[in-house]
Subunit: 226 residues, 2 copies
Amino acid sequence: MRMAELSRRTGVPVPTIKYYLREGLLLPGERTSPNQAIYDESHVRRLRMIRALAEVGGLSIAKVRDVLDAVDSPDEPFEVLGAVQRSIEPPVGATDGEHWAQARERVAKLLLERGWRAKIGSPPAQTLIAALASLYDVGREDLTDLLERYAPMAEKIAETDVERVTRGQGIEDTIEGVVIGTVIGETMFGALRRLAHQHVTAMTLGVVEEYDFGPGTAGGSGSHLE
Amino acid sequence: MRMAELSRRTGVPVPTIKYYLREGLLLPGERTSPNQAIYDESHVRRLRMIRALAEVGGLSIAKVRDVLDAVDSPDEPFEVLGAVQRSIEPPVGATDGEHWAQARERVAKLLLERGWRAKIGSPPAQTLIAALASLYDVGREDLTDLLERYAPMAEKIAETDVERVTRGQGIEDTIEGVVIGTVIGETMFGALRRLAHQHVTAMTLGVVEEYDFGPGTAGGSGSHLE
């Protein structure tokens, strides 16, 4: 297909496709003349992955490149997962604050007790330690038991994720699933948790909150679209 | 206490405290002379909240101000929750993509079926719709059932959060708990999910992954600190 068709199929504008080509995120098409090239399904698939990472995951082009490098030279899906995690992990600030050591011990203890084969030095563990340390920092030690409460729930979700992503269709689909599932799944889950907060808070506090959707909208009338 | 003591108590450097004072995030202390003021526990508490929002939540100063405004004039905790959610929610791009209407219907249906008192027009619902639409966009409709799988787990976590935050100590603690729990709890849960991904993926794929922590570290030897 030509670039116009590739754009239509993926929803990515032509100038953006050209930018990705220049940046080397997308392999060149097959040249059919000095200024024409044709593209195939591999380009469609790659563009969709770039779009998921950049637009939904909010990753920078440099980070998208890191993830794609891992996808392109996979020793195993585990390596891809590591690369995705390193890419999407927010930067952790100082690791020597007043409560860092205390928080680190508690996270190490959790990993040990749950038997998680996860590294205390890995990016998500560092994020977790920083978040826990900040609960101590802000004087809300009473909330730190959320760590142990969350852990089994996080494990159950991870089981769902991995089962969902590894079922079926070969290594390429699995790797794409790991990348897309980690990034988009994270966004989805966070949004669902915040939606559930609205619900549970409203129920707990007895707030009468007006629904702004109903059977009509759910059925597709679209009358409440904005 | 003087500003130096306030800095020591909260871990926030003096120049940063002065910046927050100039920006109006922190109320002035009580003047004791033209260039001296004293601060009390309310300043300690407020600084800790600013630190949690800015450093852990990664919120801009403008967004921290939005949250604090809601905290300072709370009609009810529900309003504070809404303000926090609006502040931490990532911006949603176009809402008219090919699969937006389809994704919106599915989210509306979910809210209805679960009886969630949550608004389809609220920031997290919009984020959820965008993430779901992007799964359709990238051709991975097979992963969209994560929506229905995640929902009951998200509800359970929200129940834990709300129970944890509303137990006890009066409205001020509750509101602080909502703010801090939403922001830091989100970070903690996301990190735990990614750690659990490492574990479950290693187990599923049979990867032999070397632990980089052990009883010695968990017991506090600190020998593996970096």
